[in-house]
């Protein structure tokens, strides 16, 4: 403030005085806050501090490495899941086709050894094969 007195500076002094008065009153008020309120405030502060990203005592290099690794992990997780899914599908497909081949094997071997099971005559494919082969 300039030393010369103007209406504004007088006003400012009065404002400042009022500000100090209000400040003292309000500070007296906050000193008498209810215990549940101060407990909630304390809990809020603890919660905020618990949310700090790094705990004291961790080495910076180690934490950088760890955070880099966790970043990589986060990025790789969807890829790994997709890869796993593809593996499961391939394996399922493989076992299904193996089962199919096995079931065909029985009929084929029976045909070759000329011990046709009764089921073979019920098979429409067998009928047409029979007709085909007898025509040749």
């Amino acid at each position: 403030m300039t030393p010369q007195q103007s209406p504004y500076s007088l006003d400012f002094a009065a404002e400042r005085e009022l500000g100090l008065f209000v400040r003292n009153q309000l500070n007296a008020g906050t000193a008498q806050l209810d215990v549940p309120v101060t407990e909630r405030l304390f809990a809020a502060r603890q919660a905020a501090l618990a949310g700090l990203p790094t705990q004291a005592g961790e080495l910076s290099l180690a934490s950088v490495g760890r955070s880099g690794w966790s970043w990589l992990e986060e990025r790789l997780r969807p890829l790994a899941m997709a890869f796993g899914l593809v593996l499961v599908l391939l394996a399922g497909n493989q076992t299904l086709s193996l089962q199919h081949i096995e079931s065909q094997e029985d009929i084929d071997s029976a045909l070759l050894s000329d011990e046709l099971p009764i089921d073979a005559y019920l098979d429409r494919g067998f009928q047409s094969w029979l007709a085909d082969s007898s025509r040749q």
């Binding site: 400042r16 309000l26 007296a28 405030l41 502060r45 949310g51």
Partner: protein
Amino acid sequence: MVKAPAGSHPQATGQTLASRIELSDFLAGVERRAFRQAQFALRDEEAALDVVQEAMLKLAEKYAARPAEELPLLFQRILQNAIRDHMRRSRVRNLWVSLLSAFGSGEEGEPDPLESIETTDTGMLPAGPQGRLEQSQTLSIIESEISKLPARQREAFLMRYWEEMDIAETAAAMGCSEGSVKTHCSRASHTLAAALRAKGIEL
């Protein structure tokens, strides 16, 4: 390990620990005032506590690494934004409530007269030390007058005189010019001074 010369950059661990302690100290010092500020604006204890917690979490989450001298400004800014967000949300909620209650039966419209008796009854209590009674009366008058101020005026006034921030800091925290901080402060103090004079309170 070589001892670091005085004035060099502290180790990362020391810095984290220091900023944690600084943040803890800062929050401990400011939390009650922040709660009162939120309460003046929201007039609801629970909402004020929620808002203060939200502001603390945000400060710790985003700005914990900032130097201690920047924390008051950042915290005020976060707090005022949190208060404003809360008011906006509750305004929308109140709109819905009033719309819905307009359709429902208006049975709970009448305020309970017992409630108002309870709050004004403090004068009937057996007087303890006279000074303390007067002080608590003055305080409640001041608090209710501050609560009645327009939001921006209250923010500016409390930041300047309660948080002891200078005009530039207040302007930065409020996101406005220094000129409007001065205007807000001077209007707020005129209103407050007139209200206190009308209630017979001497400074």
